[in-house]
Subunit: 269 residues, 2 copies
């Protein structure tokens, strides 16, 4: 099989996450689709895209108070509403891919993933594998979603958790986290003007980095930048990870083409 | 578990199928949603909805010539386009359900169904079962789709084939086929003014009926009324089946409430 790259299109990059209104940034999605198209024309690789939820998911999860399981009939309504909202966002992403001629194929997480206490315990990846094995340029597109949970009835599965599972299961060569910031800073860049990007995280500096990073203040039920880093360290051992700003022109193309991109490279053995 | 009813919303009923343009009949979908809501307020039952494709699916399958497997890169494009078009239709259906306060929850067929030579060989129904077991009024909504096929790479799975599988697997008490005609006629009603509806089909008159029914002329890669009848006879033994006109007010409500409805009842032992 060809090299597999998994790309996250973060909720912070493709939606107005900080304003917490369910509205997309169509320009960012279109630009991402165009740069993928360009990279794919030059180089042959398998690609899976996983996009975040942003306010399309978090807003409802928070509003309905369903981050710790479903109990009341309102909770069930919130669950259904959250999933449907995510599909709405997914439709927009897939449409932009198709418009530029990419074979974006949505894969509904809630049909193939089951969780237990917010952790994935079952994930039927056969549809993803089969789509890639068709060897036809099809790009499976998944997303953060609410899925059935054996303990909580339903719970949030983050795009990052999906990526961690897929990267291990399918042997991803590289995971690209496209966010709206240029990488992991040593301080919160919104409150510290002298914040700098940590360009490499590895066995040697990881403890030092973990002490430094501060949590972002975004409304995000799946955790901020520190959460992301901890999750990456825990779940993506052995994988080449890049956290970069996907809202900046050329970055995604360069990342896919293997060229230099500003960002944070993480590789733990 | 509560009694399970499976409802088909036929492509001929919810789209402009005969004109072969991908356009829905929102009034029909809204009316169906409202009547389900009313019936559910009076009576407690589990419901699964499966909707047809109409031109949303058939148009692309025909245009791309992908009814017999994927070979060229154009075929793969057609496959992706057909599925995405079906999701577009599904979004509209789900939205109408949600608007009237029903917990419509889409379940993507291509994630849980695999075919071999156009026949379902694997169908993970656990998501459907789990959604019903939540006992919260959630209505899983599936649809005719293109799914992966072990021989043909991808093939069409009809809403009817999904229904046949689910009815057997989950022990449906009743299957309601909502179409745009009042049942199965003894002659083609569009060319024969004296055509009459066959109100009951059972062991005793089935051979006679099969001789009489003529195929409908609709553009439909999954077969017309005769095809439907043959499929029902073959796959839905022991299940109470009703074929009726879902575009006529009150019919769906009456069917769900167990009241009299004009249509064709089929019950084979």
């Amino acid at each position: 099989m060809k090299a597999l790259i998994i790309l996250k299109l973060g909720g912070s990059a493709i939606t107005y996450k900080r304003r917490n209104i369910p509205k997309v940034r169509p320009n960012v999605i279109r630009m991402a689709a165009e740069e993928i198209k360009r990279a794919k024309e030059e180089k042959d690789f398998n690609l899976i895209v996983v996009h975040g939820a942003g306010p399309y998911g978090h807003k409802f999860v928070t509003e309905y108070g369903i981050d710790n399981g479903l109990k009341t009939s309102e909770h069930f309504e919130g669950f259904v509403k959250t999933h449907n909202s995510m599909e709405e966002l997914n439709r927009i992403v897939v449409d932009e891919f198709v418009k530029v001629g990419l074979l974006g194929f949505p894969v509904q997480p809630s049909v193939c993933i089951v969780q237990e206490n917010k952790k994935i315990v079952s994930f039927d990846t056969s549809i993803i594998k089969s789509l890639l094995e068709l060897n036809s340029g099809i790009i499976p597109i998944m997303y953060g979603d609410m899925v059935l949970d054996r303990e909580l009835k339903a719970s949030v599965v983050s795009g990052d958790a999906i990526i961690a599972y897929l990267a291990k299961e399918l042997g991803a060569e590289r995971v690209l986290f496209g966010t709206n910031v240029p990488g992991i800073h040593d301080k919160d860049p919104r409150t510290n003007k002298d914040a700098e990007i940590i360009s490499n995280i590895n066995e040697e500096n990881v403890d030092d980095v973990l002490l430094k990073v501060s949590e972002t203040k975004d409304v995000d039920v799946t955790g901020g930048m520190k959460g992301k880093l901890v999750e990456v360290l825990k779940t993506l051992q052995g994988v080449n990870v890049l956290i970069f700003n996907v809202t900046e022109k050329e970055n995604l193309y360069n990342a896919l083409a293997g060229k230099d991109v500003e960002g944070t490279e993480i590789k733990m053995v």
